[in-house]
């Protein structure tokens, strides 16, 4: 149908041209046809507004029919205008839908980007968390090292406290007393027979304790000091005190105390602790004193 009308239209135009007559075309119709062709060639319009395009085509055909029927110009103009409006409606519908599609895809794109951003942020956060955890672990490690060290030194302190306490306790058992020179254990003359330097048999219990003490405190050194009363000559008393000190040292060495930690000193009648006028005072003056070094140092001499 359309082709026939087109053919007729073309024919009439050709005929009109042949007759050298003024073009009897309707400009409104031409314009509408032109617009319709443009819209038809627009892939967006044909894809997104196909129904509107069909209606525009129908309108155009009606206008062409009216024109070919030789209807009044104002009627053809009117129908051409109607067709043209239908073309515009198709175009506007298509452009509206195009924009809506753009909006939809841009929104989708934005959502996708947001998701990517969130993912990236989450990844970064995870990494930071991991780094922070590693940091924390390292710091915890350092902290526990420090704690260990502190614990160790506390333990050492405790141990040395225990050792000191133990030392005092052990020596207390031997009636040790604290003096400015250090701990002093006095072995009374009951350990010796009068005028003899050999230790009496019953002294071995105390000597065992002493030896045990030296063995348990290997850093301790001691000076063994011999004293007498004032009976007899000064020189014989001096030699007696020396022999008694040596006897004590020998016994300790026999019991396993290294000799290099022991030394002896003979004082004879010097430094009496009691009055030699009475028998009881003289007995107290006949003694051997064991002076323990205060730290690891030497015993200060009198």
């Amino acid at each position: 149908m359309k082709n026939r009308y087109l053919y007729l239209a073309t024919l009439s135009v050709v005929l009109a041209a042949c007759n050298s007559m003024p073009a009897n075309r309707n400009s409104q119709l031409d314009q509408a046809t032109e617009h319709f062709k443009l819209a038809q060639g627009d892939s967006q319009v044909s894809a997104l507004a196909p129904e509107e395009l069909v209606r525009a085509g129908e309108s155009l055909r009606i206008a062409e029919l009216a024109w070919m029927n030789g209807d009044k110009t104002d009627k053809v103009d009117h129908l051409a205008y109607m067709a043209d409006r239908r073309v515009v409606i198709a175009q506007e519908t298509a452009s509206s839908k195009t924009a809506q599609n753009v909006t939809a895809s841009a929104a989708a794109e934005r959502d996708k980007m947001r998701l990517e951003m969130r993912t990236a942020e989450a990844d970064t956060a995870h990494q930071q968390l991991a780094v922070a955890k590693l940091d924390t672990l390292q710091k915890e490690g350092e902290l526990s090292d420090v704690k260990d060290a502190a614990a160790r030194s506390a333990e050492n302190l405790e141990r040395s406290d225990a050792r000191v306490n133990d030392l005092e306790y052990q020596l207390k058992d031997l009636n040790a007393r604290k003096t400015p020179r250090g701990m002093v254990v006095t072995l009374g003359d009951v350990l010796f027979d009068t005028g003899k330097s050999a230790l009496a048999h019953n002294s071995s219990h105390n000597m065992d304790k002493l030896a045990d003490f030296f063995i348990r405190n290997p850093q301790r050194t001691a000076t063994i000091e011999g004293y007498t009363d004032n009976i007899g000559s000064t020189s014989s008393n001096y030699r007696l005190s020396e022999r008694r000190a040596n006897a004590v040292m020998k016994m300790l060495v026999d019991k396993g105390v290294p000799q290099d930690r022991l030394s002896t000193h003979a004082y004879g009648e010097e430094s009496p602790v009691a009055d030699n006028a009475s028998a009881a005072g003289r007995q107290m003056n006949r003694r051997v004193e064991i002076v323990f070094s205060q730290q690891s140092g030497d015993v200060s001499e009198k």
Partner: protein
Amino acid sequence: MPNVLFTSFSIRTITVLFVLVLGACASEPKSNMQMAVAEASVQHANTSSTSENANGQLQIALSKLDRARQAVIDKDYERAQQLAEQVELDSQVAELHAQSERSRKAAQETQNAANVLRDEINRKTPH
């Protein structure tokens, strides 16, 4: 969206039509009916959004409606019928143009937002 638009369009058109047709049964039924359609179309199209986004198209429809009314007064019913038919389509064109303008602006805004977001992402992750 367009479906909703046309549905409400049709309902309002039919309602107005019905009233006017009933009132004008006696004389010139054809042009009166088309006049009713034209009035309803313009009424529907005459919104703030249309006057903002498709003012030119809306003014064409409004002035043509006036001319149609005048034609009725002049008893030029054929012309009135034609103008009324044109007003109907002119109103639709105005509405659709306004709608496509709104859609175009919305698309532009969404694209801008997407671009801003893209820039932001690129700035945040320089690698």
